[in-house]
């Protein structure tokens, strides 16, 4: 993944103002910086949700300034919201998001198992889950999607100690299998020990 002098604009405001960052496959990179620095915008740009106004952005071999939609099927994005359907069960949600990339039932079950959801929570509606359990469900959906690029915004938020350990193990496993992982977090101690590299984001630039 290679971003060079990227500018992105939202509502007339440059949320990224010349960001340059290179990340190799298998790396786990922690993005740190104050609120409004551009961490979330950087993740959304890499997911193909923000247009490249200027500069060049190449993600998983896709040039985002030419086509920002074809990269999306290879991306797993966990933002501030979880992207879950509250009236569906945990299993329904993981099955649905897994099915968008053709995941088998075994892969769906393995994803739920990985995040500790396979036993008593599988058939519980998301609306009845705690915030941490919802976060785990969202992570299980990402695991089922077998993404090549993981983009996580404050992924540890709301998780208990076990959930955090499971998340870290999952991310290390994904990176070991060749996925690229970008984590934006304010929990520097936790996310820092997970990351292979830390970069500072400030004023829409990467330092």
């Amino acid at each position: 993944m290679r971003l060079t002098d990227v500018v992105a604009v939202v509502g007339g405001f440059p949320v990224l103002a010349g960001a340059t960052l290179t990340v190799e496959r298998g790396e786990i990179v922690l993005l740190q910086g104050p609120n409004g620095a551009g961490k979330t915008s950087l993740l959304r740009l890499c997911a193909g949700l923000l247009a490249v106004e200027r500069g060049t952005a190449e993600v998983l071999g896709h040039d985002l300034s030419v086509d920002r939609t074809s990269v999306r099927r290879h991306v797993g994005l966990l933002g501030h919201s979880n992207g879950l359907y509250a009236d569906l069960t945990v299993a329904d949600n993981v099955r649905f998001w897994g099915a968008t990339v053709g995941a088998s039932q075994d892969e769906v079950s393995a994803a739920m198992e990985r995040m500790g959801l396979a036993a008593r929570l599988a058939h519980v509606r998301v609306a009845r889950l705690s915030a941490g359990q919802r976060r785990r469900t969202a992570l299980a959906c990402l695991v089922a999607r077998r993404a090549g690029l993981w983009l996580l915004d404050e992924p540890h938020a709301g998780l208990d100690a076990t959930g955090r350990d499971e998340l870290d193990a999952t991310l290390r496993e994904a990176a070991a299998s060749g996925a690229t992982v970008l984590v934006a977090s304010h929990e520097l101690e936790r996310a820092g020990s997970l990351a292979t590299r830390t970069v500072e984001v400030a004023g829409g630039q990467v330092r």
Partner: protein
């Protein structure tokens, strides 16, 4: 995944959401039935009710459509699922067709209930010769409403004040369906001495409307829901 595979996946998910939440059966159906009863109270004249019954059925269907479309996109925006769908990289035409299919299924049930309510409340009769045009109208109007509802629901989904914006955008656009479906249903029921054969040109208008919004929606939906 192909467009049809995505459409089936999204439609099954939307119908499962409705089945689990029972919003259609517990809220939208009683709302539609109430509208029919209120019309009866307001007009309070059997002859007038029989004469305007086709229009009242489709007007109640339009009001219910607004509730169904709001609901169909509220489940997508409540926890950022629409964003997740965009990132999932699935074909937007598949999302459009899937959501339209699920909406059409719910509308079909609703309209059937409204028609039965009209027959019971307004003492309307369906002559044997009008069954064909009535069924064709029912299918074409349902498809048209589902396509246009999904298209405008997607357009309003990301907007501020979408609850009030949707009726403002949607009602003028569905006016041809209201007119066409009402005239075709009048012909099917023989209201005001109309003949069933007079309904087919109106069915043609409804079919054309459904085809235009079905094709246009499948093409434009991606740009509408994207940032």
């Amino acid at each position: 995944m192909s467009t049809w595979q995505i459409a089936r996946l999204v439609a099954a998910k939307d119908l499962r959401v409705e089945w689990r939440s029972r919003v259609v059966t517990n809220q939208v159906l009683p709302f539609a039935a109430l509208v029919m009863v209120m019309f009866a109270f307001a007009l309070d004249n059997d002859q007038a009710l029989t004469r305007v019954a086709p229009g009242l059925v489709w007007l109640a269907a339009m009001f219910s459509l607004l509730v169904l479309v709001q609901r169909a996109f509220a489940v997508e925006t409540a926890d950022g699922a629409l964003d997740a769908l965009k990132v999932a990289g699935v074909r937007s035409s598949g999302i459009f067709l899937g959501k339209a299919l699920a909406l059409a299924a719910q509308l079909a049930v609703l309209e059937a209930v409204l028609l039965v309510a009209a027959i019971l409340l307004y003492r309307t009769e369906v002559p044997a010769g009008g069954v064909g045009v009535l069924l064709a109208t029912y299918v074409a109007a349902t498809a048209g409403l589902a396509f246009v509802g999904t298209l405008y629901g997607g357009l309003a989904a990301g907007a501020r004040g979408r609850e009030t914006l949707l009726p403002l955008l949607l009602l003028p656009v569905v006016a041809p369906v209201l007119i066409g479906a009402t005239r075709a249903t009048e012909a099917a029921l023989g209201t005001n001495d109309a003949m069933p054969s007079e309904g087919w040109p109106w069915f043609g208008l409804l079919a054309l409307f459904a085809a235009v919004f079905g094709a246009g929606g499948a093409l434009a939906f991606g740009s509408l829901i994207d940032d």
